[in-house]
Amino acid sequence: MIVELGHYALVLALATALLQCLLPLVGVLTSDPALMRTGTNAAYAGFGLTLLAFCALATAYVTSDFSVVNVFENSHSQIPVIYRFSGVWGNHEGSMLLWLLILSFFSALVAFFGSHLPERLKALVLSVQAALAAAFALFVLATSNPFLRLDPAPGEGRDLNPVLQDVGLAIHPPLLYLGYVGFSVCFSFAVAALIDGRIDAAWARWVRPWALMAWSFLTVGIAMGSYWAYYELGWGGWWFWDPVENASFMPWLAGTALLHSALVMEKREALKIWTVLLAILTFSLSLLGTFLVRSGVLTSVHAFATDPRRGVFILAILVIVIGGALSLFALRAGTLKAGGLFAPISREGALVLNNLILTTATATVLIGTLYPLVLETLTGAKISVGPPFFNLTFGLLMMPLLFVVPFGPMLAWKRGDLAGAAERLLTSALLALLVGAVVLYGAWGGPILAPFIIALGVFLMLGALAEPAFRAGFGKLGFMLALRRLRGLPRSTFGTAFAHFGLGVTLIGIVCATAYQTEAIVEMRPGQTIEAGGYSLTFDGLRPAAGPNYSEERGHFSLRKGGVDAGEVWSSKRVYTARRMPTTEAGIRTFGFSQLYVSLGDSKEDGAVVVRIWWKPWVLCIWLGALLMFAGGAVSLSDRRLRIGVPARSRQRPIQAVEAGE
């Protein structure tokens, strides 16, 4: 009954989306304010109905209702309840429903916070959002319906893939989708503005908070996925340049570019055409990612099922949405006037450089991801484009950007003073070089590039701190006065500093964990000892154990450092009973920012076990940096000038304010 209710709610959500798409649009065309305003309530209704559908499916999962095909195929009554719940999106159908839920959630947010928007723009944005929602609701209902029943109902489910029975599944996809789908708002704003034919600095001010929010969620979403793969897959890797990872990384890169170009547009009314194009491209890359992951074009742990109908359907959505938006763009871009002038050395110039590098880097990732597919279609040859390709292209192209980042915020708008900026960054640069020299000396004989990149990371971190410090006047004014001025700086200054600082932290984590990790693969018998990262591990033997739906062999290792006890590590080989599927549970022990990572291999007849042990120095910095970037986004969002729903000044007279700005 509940499941049928959910099914019905989803059909109603589709109908609501169609209304929400058409009515406000007709309202705009006929200049009928009453029709324009229907979008708001339709958006709330659409969200409510989709939420109802989602809750119905979640109920079926939590109560293990195996008469539902989707639950039967992807769940099991012995799975702990939290994984039964997160299992809702651990399969194709449920995950598309989550996608749709988040899309309608963002529509509702626009409806709620958009009271200050010009009515025409708001109506058009909601209409475009609804068009997307309708397309995906139709996709779910027509090709991926999670509400279909089985008769007779089986007694037990086929189990959830053991790899997915983890808190990672509970956190990673929702965060990722909040980011991925969040960019739909920027897309809708871009298309709405193109239809309306009015794009000015105010547009950028409205779009930037949404871009910032989506970007922040995407940042943690990707970082969470990376950490999940790191501890769950048991091979100690945290990024594989897998096409599916690239699919989420490309919108992130383009979204980062969008954040920065929208800044130029908001402050200086320059880069208008480019920013609108980026807003379209960013969400197009999100859609492309959805297509790559969900169509079955790529086979990976993320591709739950392959059904050609689905691929064709998403491809059709992709072509219509992206093609339509770009055609509209081509039609209208010529009518947009170029904005303010600026010298090459200026804040704008630095942000243009940022955009140039980020978009080029995005393009190389796109080429590396799609080339194997294209080549196979054209010639039948199968190639794998892996880390060597991306390190060489993406890695090298990003280096200049990392070096330029600290300079950007130091330059003034319009015309910057490069020598002055360099002078202010001198201390940071010298300290960074000092750190690099110490690392070079300490790790003599190691990879020669690593100390330089670490120095670059330190430069990024210190440079990020130097900017607010300089603006507050530390070193020039008295300490107390500078501290007071620091507190008076706008929040977005701290947001920038946090995010750029986090970038440096991530860079250092990546370099240290890649260049200075040690790896040992050895055969160990109980009682044997091995050295890793200054710790000695003694293998004490395997012990059988059992969990709620698996049995396992747990290997116990005692750790000692300099003869002193330093704790223990468990690592195990599990077999999940329902699918008879073996998995490796890595044993991870954290020391500061570094980790000792122990993974078990096959055991031999004589009691020996193959053990793989990594020492991963500073590896936690990779994800810590991403969290700092998220914090930067959150701090910026809380800025009075940026908060969604503000600017307070124009709140009373939204329409007049825009007309005045023309």
Binding site: E73, N74, N91, N161, V163, A229, L233, G234, F240, D242, V244, T299, S300, V301, H302, F304, A305, T306, L341, F342, A343, P344, V352, L356, I357, T360, A361, A363, T364, I367, G368, Y371, A381, K382, I383, S384, V385, G386, P388, F389, L392, T393, L396, L397, I521, V522, E523, K573, M581, P582, T583, T584, S599, G601, D602, K604, V610, R612
Partner: protein, 149 residues
């Protein structure tokens, strides 16, 4: 600088950077990608020893031998050809005799294959479809091949 000169500087800078990127991509494609072969095609392809490839097929039944330490020997077959593979490390959880596998590494001078990565089934970069397509084209049916959902 006049407006025109500024625009020219901007465009030439952008063109320069993008050309650099294009050159890098072309270079990387010639150096850093691995072609996929099944044993039957490998014999025909006559590649030079040391070429980096991906080798896919079935693990021949009864061929897995664990040597001293962490060394493993096994044979990858597609029923037409067979290639002996050596690997030093931990095999993936779902590595089984008679089931699909993809190994990445280099051809050795004696006609064998030294793998540095072995992927099986649910591993993220594993592509069972590739193996399945090639094997199906050669008339081999995959017993017990459970696709991951």
């Amino acid at each position: 600088m006049s407006r025109k000169q500024k625009r020219l500087a901007l465009i030439s800078g952008a063109v320069g950077f993008v050309s650099l990127a294009v050159l890098l991509v072309l270079f990387a494609f010639s150096q850093a990608v691995a072609y996929f072969y099944v044993p039957g095609d490998l014999a025909k392809a006559k590649l030079a020893p040391g070429t980096r490839i991906r080798l896919g097929g079935l693990v021949a039944t009864g061929s897995v031998q664990r040597a001293a330490g962490t060394q493993v020997h096994f044979t990858v077959t597609d029923t037409i050809g067979a290639v002996p593979v050596t690997y030093d490390g931990i095999l993936p959880d779902l590595f089984r005799e008679g089931q699909g596998v993809v190994a990445e590494g280099r051809l050795t001078a004696d006609g064998g294959f030294a793998a540095d990565t072995v992927l099986a089934k649910h591993d993220e970069t594993y592509m069972p479809k590739d193996v399945a397509d090639r094997l199906k084209a050669q008339g081999v049916t995959l017993g017990g091949q459970e696709t991951i959902r």
